[in-house]
């Protein structure tokens, strides 16, 4: 992904954490292995991280580590689904998805008594797409459908949803978080949503 990167050195300086802490959090799976990106710099091999994600993650760890054990934190950050189940009304009441977003999900799925985590996540992602204002209802339906069809592929792993438009025609794709995607200039990326970030956010909303 063409996300901005930050070097390990700059990261430690910016966040004030030490090497020991960084390695400890890596051991405890609080920072995923995929975020450690090796690149050749003029000083040799250096390690980089996706800037926004690592800064956000470290911020959360620092804020929560006094209240939760490292293992609890690891559970919160893992892309694996939790046992939570909610009714459609609860999903709206908890502010997870707006009514229109949920309607799109239910129209596709049919009537559902209680939604599993994966379903709630799909509704949440659709909600985020709509909320951005960049995605239309029809495009959101397309997103919903794509998520349903292919969600299983990325089980346990992070992926990114991209909504694309060219010449007024909309499409979307799901890409693994480690993929480098390059599009031809005619394509406009209308929305980019990380499933991993949504999972994290959703777990916090549910806890």
């Amino acid at each position: 992904m063409d996300a901005e990167l930050i070097s390990k050195r700059d990261l430690l300086e910016l966040t004030g954490i030490s090497y020991g802490q960084l390695y400890r959090w890596k051991r405890k799976n609080l920072i995923p292995e995929e975020w450690f990106i090796r690149k050749s710099a003029f000083t040799g091999q250096e390690t980089f991280f996706p800037r926004e994600r690592i800064l956000g993650r470290i911020d959360r760890i620092k804020n929560m580590k006094d209240d939760l054990s490292l293992d609890d934190l690891a559970n919160m950050f893992s892309p694996s689904p939790t046992e939570a189940r909610l009714t459609p009304d609860e999903v709206v009441e908890k502010g997870i998805a707006s009514r229109p977003a949920l309607e799109i999900f239910l129209k596709d799925e049919g009537h559902v008594e209680s939604l599993t985590f994966d379903m709630i996540l799909s509704a949440f992602i659709v909600h985020k797409a709509l909320e951005s204002g960049e995605v239309t209802i029809d495009e959101a339906r397309l997103v919903m459908h794509t998520l349903k069809e292919h969600h299983g592929r990325f089980q346990g792993k992070d992926f990114t949803l991209l909504c694309l438009r060219k010449q007024g025609i909309a499409t979307c794709c799901l890409a693994s978080s480690t993929a480098d995607l390059v599009f031809e200039p005619g394509i406009k990326i209308v929305s980019r949503i990380s499933a991993g970030s949504c999972t994290e956010e959703l777990k916090m909303k549910l806890s």
């Binding site: 050195r9 300086e13 030490s18 090497y19 020991g20 960084l22 390695y23 400890r24 890596k26 051991r27 000083t43 040799g44 091999q45």
Partner: protein, 244 residues
């Protein structure tokens, strides 16, 4: 799964058995188990192969073993020779002998003596070694204490407190001097060491980064970056040192 419905598997002399779920597995002599094993206790005295993964609460090997799969246990001791064709996930790991792991090692506490080879990464809270080892990946452990016996290679090391030294004492000093003369280099070789408190001897590294860094005799470091203090002994060669 109630323990009472599981049987024991005991081999005395030479024998083969089918894998499965057991209470206690005990091989005295030479035994091969065809298939994976899940058990409470695993004891091997002699020579044995498990043709599949081994999962136990407690285990010990006194002799030679090959485990053709992952090794998972709360406590596992190996005295002798072992080859594990898979990942090792053992909370309390005690090795004294020659062990090769064709995978990674994940542990709470690792105690190594002898000669260990790990093809993947090694992760632990405590890593104690009095011996030599080769780790092809990253050694990531909270507290690392390495007493060098022979040549040790690790791709990279990261942790909180990292200490690398040679055994010292009247006899050890004599032995070390003889080994050096015979060109048996007792060194730790690695690309990068990063930690909070780093104390090194007889280490050859590309880069060392830490808060407080102590470099003793026999160190050959290309670049040291330290946040707090750098204590460099006269016998330590450092190409470049930077306070960051």
């Amino acid at each position: 799964m109630e323990q009472s419905t599981r049987h024991d598997l005991k081999i005395y002399g030479v024998g083969d058995a089918t894998g499965g779920e057991f209470n206690e597995v005990s091989i005295n002599g030479q035994g091969d188990v065809n298939g994976g094993v899940v058990c409470a206790r695993f004891n091997l005295n002699g020579e044995g192969t498990v043709n599949g993964p081994l999962k136990a609460q407690d285990g010990s090997v006194l002799g030679t073993t090959t485990i053709k799969g992952a090794l998972e246990a709360d406590r596992f001791k190996i005295f002798g020779t072992a080859r594990i064709v898979g990942d090792v996930s053992v909370k309390d790991l005690d090795i004294d002998g020659t062990v090769t792991v064709h995978g990674g090692v994940k542990s709470d506490a690792i105690n190594l003596r002898g000669n260990t080879k790990i093809h993947g990464n090694c992760t632990a809270e405590r890593f104690d070694c009095k011996g030599s080892f080769t780790i092809d990946g990253l050694l990531n452990a909270g507290k690392i204490d390495i007493t060098l016996y022979g040549s040790t290679k690790v791709k990279e090391i990261g942790g909180e407190t990292i200490r690398v030294r040679k055994e010292s004492g009247p006899i050890a000093n004599v032995v070390n001097a003889i080994l050096e003369k015979l060109d048996f280099k007792q060194r730790l070789e690695t690309d990068t060491i990063e930690g909070d408190e780093v104390s090194l001897e007889y280490t050859r590294a590309g880069t060392v980064r830490g808060n407080h860094v102590r470099l003793g005799d026999g160190c050959e470091i290309d670049l040291v970056e330290y946040k707090g203090t750098l204590d460099q002994a006269p016998g330590a060669m450092v190409k470049e040192a930077k306070k960051v």
